[in-house]
Amino acid sequence: MSEIINISRRDFLRTGALIGGGLVLGLSLSEISSDATTKSVPFVPNAFIRIGTDNSITIIVNKSEMGQGVYTSLPMLVAEELEVEWSKIHVEPAPVDPAYNHTQWGNMQGTGGSTSVRSEWDRLRKAGATARVMLVKAAAEIWKVDPATCRAEKGFVIHNATKRRVSYGKVAGKAAQMEPPQDVPLKQPKDFKLIGKSIKRLDTPEKVNGTAIFGIDARVSGMLTALIARPPVFAGKVKSFNSEKAKAVPGVKDVVQVDSGVAVIADDFWSAKNGRDALEIVWDEGPLATLSTGGMREQYGNLAKTPGTVAKKAGDPEQVFKEASKQISAEYEVPYLAHAPMETLNCLVDLRADSCEIWTGTQSQTADRNTAARIAGLKPEQVKIHTTYLGGGFGRRANPHSDFVAEAVDVAKTVKKPVKVIWTREDDIKGGYYRPMWYDRIIAGLDEKGDLIAWQHTIVGQSIISGTPFEQMLVMHNVDETSVEGAKDIPYEIPNILVDLHSPKIGVPVQWWRSVGHSHTAFVVESFIDEVAHAAGKDPYEFRRKLLSKHPRHKGVLELAAQKAGWSTSLPEGHARGIAVHESFGSFIAQVAEVSVNPAGEVRVHKVVCAIDCGKVVNPEIIKAQMESGIVFGLTAALFGAITFKDGKVEQSNFHDYQMVRMKDMPKVEVYIMPSQEALGGVGEPGVPPIAPAVANAVFAATGKRIRRLPINAEELKRT
């Protein structure tokens, strides 16, 4: 091979500037601050900002960039108060340090729950303001003027009277010697220059030219690649294996048994894959060898007919049902779903006697570091996590057990070189930690006027929280709050309501999946309220509207979406509209879907109108992009997504049998943002929940057939 430079470890760290973290990596903040007092090193007023004597502005971001735009929206919060030129900002991922802990999650650093901007809104603006005040004071001292007579603008301090100006870099050294002030005042919204504007994403250029480094691209000198053969049935174990043929594959270095299966370690991906294909393994399939989706459906359906643990009770639903003049009921089902990020899971580990460095796209730095330390037999502070770009996360890269990091450290213990474990797409689709399968039974009672007077909703599905470190926080009185979110807190005014839950222990690994419980509850609640409206002989939009009088933000987006979609206007022959509204992660979203169904029963979504009230707005274009993204994600689930089991094995494997919405399926999406000064809501997840019911309700309007099981089955809609 010629003309190929060997990318050494040092080069890698230098070229992968976004990965390395430069000088501050691993230093505690007190060390950073004391270093900053020398002239050659930058001004580091806090954990989030470094200003170099060369005027470089580095903003350290403690949230993982997985597409949701945090490498733009979080720097905007800092830059707004810091007064620097947007184009000069360089973003760096944070190392693991308590200074970067989530402001609302206790003692851990992580990204999820659509909380990034909400949870950093105060801290990052204060970080920027504090630095600015120090820089202004430093310049004022040099000029021997009152700091109040100076202002900061685009990376300069300016003395108002004399128009003297000095760059931040020039005063960085002096500013570094000052005590950070307490309680700096923050800007009034009317003075915002960045917040509220559609500022361009900082990560776009490197994502367009191919230089963005994802975990799968990370590389250190002498690195090997490993693939792992995992049991074909969850909870299965290796009974025996023969590695002779695998070891004979060129490039294969070793074959070792690890906790999660058998690892084939090779020079590169393809050798490892060929080696894995040549492995002969006898599996003990374990207790789940007879698991089937049909069997689970029967089990869940039976459970749904029995009372579960009460999650919410108001009024006297039992009595009122007896008195209701009309009662309607339905059963709904949604399947297990894989996250299927475009970048399959991977993790690079360089394990030494007294250190462990990890490069991976993770949403869960502290937990991953602690797990790695435990497995490696090191102290947490001996483990460094380099957070790369994430080629999609959707919750999968925040595994409560750090599964993909744990097994990579496990493999690294068996080799003397750095090793990167890569999952194939098949490994990813079959690899578990799915959104759970859910089965719901729901009953509504109407009085003689057609008003909704009673509601009973029984939910059946695995808890994603039980058995994880989050159990104490999220399981209350045997109710996993994430199982019932969006169901126990429905906004509709119903005087008598019961929501109960069964959480069967099945053994299939389950986890949060973009929008978590709402991905299922919004489908059930918003489909069924449509059924109730129909049973009451009322327009589904007007029916909802009337029941939302005490929930102005729900009502507001419902009205906005209906108005923008022209709810009552006519449509081309064969087209119909459906509507849904749902609150999640502090944001309120209504969507109107326009669909048609062809004679083969195939659903085509032509247009989606989305209205969002997420409170204060930081970056409208990112909000719109996240709505488009959530709609595609939810539409994929509505039209195609299902992980099913037969003889304990997952039946899907790749994008031919676990299909995604593609360009040909893409509806026209319009997003409208409600002007609001309410507290910030999330935007990464809330776009997902309303789309499945909006589409299903539109299918009903088009065909008269209710969709009560996802994904939508064309066979059931076929016209012969």
Binding site: F394, M660, R662, K668
Partner: protein, 154 residues
């Protein structure tokens, strides 16, 4: 030894001719802009140009690519209208599929300088974007088409 012509550079690689071009590009040439997504020609993340055609490098044995002109995302100049349009529209979210999308769109526009939405749907439907940037991809392609029609330098 396999000889490859990638981004107008010659490379010699000591690999078996049946190794997929994708893994030679990534693991041997260290050009990691070309991505692995499925290994079955189902997602388009690994799209490169071979003699001017968009090909899924996960399905091309490296032996077959010998003697052909291969271009990866790293070989596309920054002033290319498609890249500029992608920037103007802020298309990427996670960004993982975008090199493949850009490579596919470049070939679409070479063959069809003023594509309709339907043309775009047909040409781009093999490229999956899990983040759902399709609407922005569509408008970026239209924008690149107008730039090219106005003679913006490629």
């Amino acid at each position: 030894m396999i000889t490859l012509d990638v981004n107008k550079k010659k490379y010699e690689v000591d690999v078996s001719p049946d190794v997929p071009l994708l893994w030679v590009i990534r693991d041997h040439l260290l050009l990691t802009g070309t991505k692995y997504g499925c290994g079955m020609s189902l997602c388009g993340a690994c799209t490169v140009h071979i003699d001017g055609k968009a090909r899924r490098s996960c399905q091309v044995p490296v032996g077959e690519a010998q003697g052909k002109e291969i271009t990866t995302i790293e070989g596309i100049p920054d002033n290319h209208p498609v890249k500029k349009a992608w920037l103007a529209e802020d298309v990427p979210q996670c960004g993982y599929c975008q090199p493949g999308q850009v490579m596919e769109a470049i070939v679409l526009l070479k063959n069809n300088p003023r594509p309709s939405d339907a043309d775009i749907d047909n040409a781009m439907t093999g490229n999956i974007c899990r983040c759902g940037t399709y609407q922005r991809i569509r408008s970026a392609i239209h924008q690149a088409a107008s730039m090219m029609a106005k003679g913006v330098k490629q």
